[in-house]
Symmetry: C2
Subunit: 335 residues, 2 copies
Amino acid sequence: MVTQVEVAKKAGVSFITVYRVLNNKGYVKKETREKVLKTVKALNYYPNHIGQALRKKKVNTIGIVIPEPPNVPVHGMEYYNMLMQGVDRFAIMHNYDILLSTYKQNDPKADYYRLYFQRKVDGLILFIPDMRCLDMNQIVKKKIPCVIIGERPIDHHISYIDSENFDGMYRVTEYLISRGVKKIAFIMGKPYMRNTIDRVNGFLKAMEKNGLPVPDYYIIKGDYTIISGITAMKKIILYKELPEAIICSNDHMAMGVLSEAKKAKIRIPEDMSLVGFDDINIAALIDPPLSTVRQPLFDMGFKASEILFKKIENPLHDCEIKVFPVELVLRKSII
Amino acid sequence: MVTQVEVAKKAGVSFITVYRVLNNKGYVKKETREKVLKTVKALNYYPNHIGQALRKKKVNTIGIVIPEPPNVPVHGMEYYNMLMQGVDRFAIMHNYDILLSTYKQNDPKADYYRLYFQRKVDGLILFIPDMRCLDMNQIVKKKIPCVIIGERPIDHHISYIDSENFDGMYRVTEYLISRGVKKIAFIMGKPYMRNTIDRVNGFLKAMEKNGLPVPDYYIIKGDYTIISGITAMKKIILYKELPEAIICSNDHMAMGVLSEAKKAKIRIPEDMSLVGFDDINIAALIDPPLSTVRQPLFDMGFKASEILFKKIENPLHDCEIKVFPVELVLRKSII
DNA sequence: CTGAAAGCGCTAACAC
DNA sequence: GTGTTAGCGCTTTCAG
């Protein structure tokens, strides 16, 4: 392995000079500097990150904690990728790398903080953590630099990023109503997730405000997977009367509904309007293109990265909370 | 930060005893062992990975090198995710973590090996690297533990994983021919990629073997993006006569073709059959569901991880090459 | 302008 | 059974 010392030997100087040249610290004679740089190139020397890290107590690495890919039914991998892009972009700009850590969903033994305690990372970004299993006290007690995306811890000493789930559903429901739609069914996501609650409440609020009744059987359970959309639609088809619209808590379930509707020769949007949430890439490509609510995922990831970065560089930095606005994306699945 | 020494102090032993307990090395009295374990728990001590790494010259981390997500037109993020799942599964089983590194496509200055030279990782898996910019001599000269997925270096001292691209296209073409289809157009991927060449050759071989002519204008350029599928289809529509089938080098382009076909009121499969490659998740969900060729992506990632692991644990381990068979997935887009 | 020496947390060879 | 000591590659303080 090529070390400072080796470079120094070859260049006929002491290792400290090598250090100074590479870190622009202290004065080094021009010729010496050039000689050093030449040997660095010649030997293909890279500063050993482990040595640096041990000394500086900083590894310049961010940990992203994410459910195991096979169990990513929540919004699909695409959702996570978009967030990750944002995180990565900011991280690269500030010389951080990204370490990936997956955990099994609903596993009470999942060790969300391992990478931090091991000092493999300087801080963590948790993507939609399973709040039933996450011990959030640790974050505060152990002062773990940490940002949560997609959930909202009650503890006000924890930074998080989310989007206006309530508002998005509220607005898209209002839009449907403005188009004359009255009988609207709603398919929910996993019941223990905060965004599930917010989304259904946004829907209910809009209905209530417009004096529209929502019978119990118009609120159908789901779990964010395509298959749960299919199941829900099967149930709905059995109703005496089709709703005029179905709003789904995410795009995946809307796709399940759509495929089941096609089987049953129910035309979208002629017979029934359909709405999703998230605006995953496929949403624009299916037939008919899906109306949905877009979250600024890239920006959310980017911001999370930024907050975490500040916290790492300055542990006294206050925790930050940022809730991003969402955007209605109206496509042909709505009359 | 909690260190071995602190644990030792609290437990009233020397740090080496702590080390022994945690690593099951040498003999430690039962009572001492228990006392140590208790303090480890009490203090929430985790061995500092950086200290270990410096000493053992091993970071237990695998680097995955991947094009920047925004520029992942090749097969879409989904493709990479599936590979990643496989890599991750094996890695976790052997106590490795995964560090992500992105590079800009077609950037001659992209530093593919940085993470390794910095000792942030013990080895690298390159996902479909841009062979125009990759200096492969380095892998051999610097003995970088490395596995390439989706490309085939000519140098026989480099491990790689790929799938039977030629065979897949050959078989799917033969299948079409067996269904009575004769006039088949083919949309190519990026010209500098090995799998592009293999796929088009598989197609040509099947056509040739069956004595079917392929006029030049039936081989259309593309670059694996949806948009290039759209462009290609626009061109095809202008032909005097529609081909009886279009085979695309990947599913994304097939989706582009499909959406353009719908606009032009060309029915799939009644007016024209359509075939993709990869079997990304959406393929089964679009209308009509897309016939395609599936690569065992998870297994490919898993195997890559395994080969890399062997190479890291034993640098003398021979390089390995594994080409996975593919599977025809016949759906309704074919007559 | 350049260098010597100490120490980050851990492991491993060697004493007691 | 338990402890001492040296050293991994780097940074930093203090000398010259």
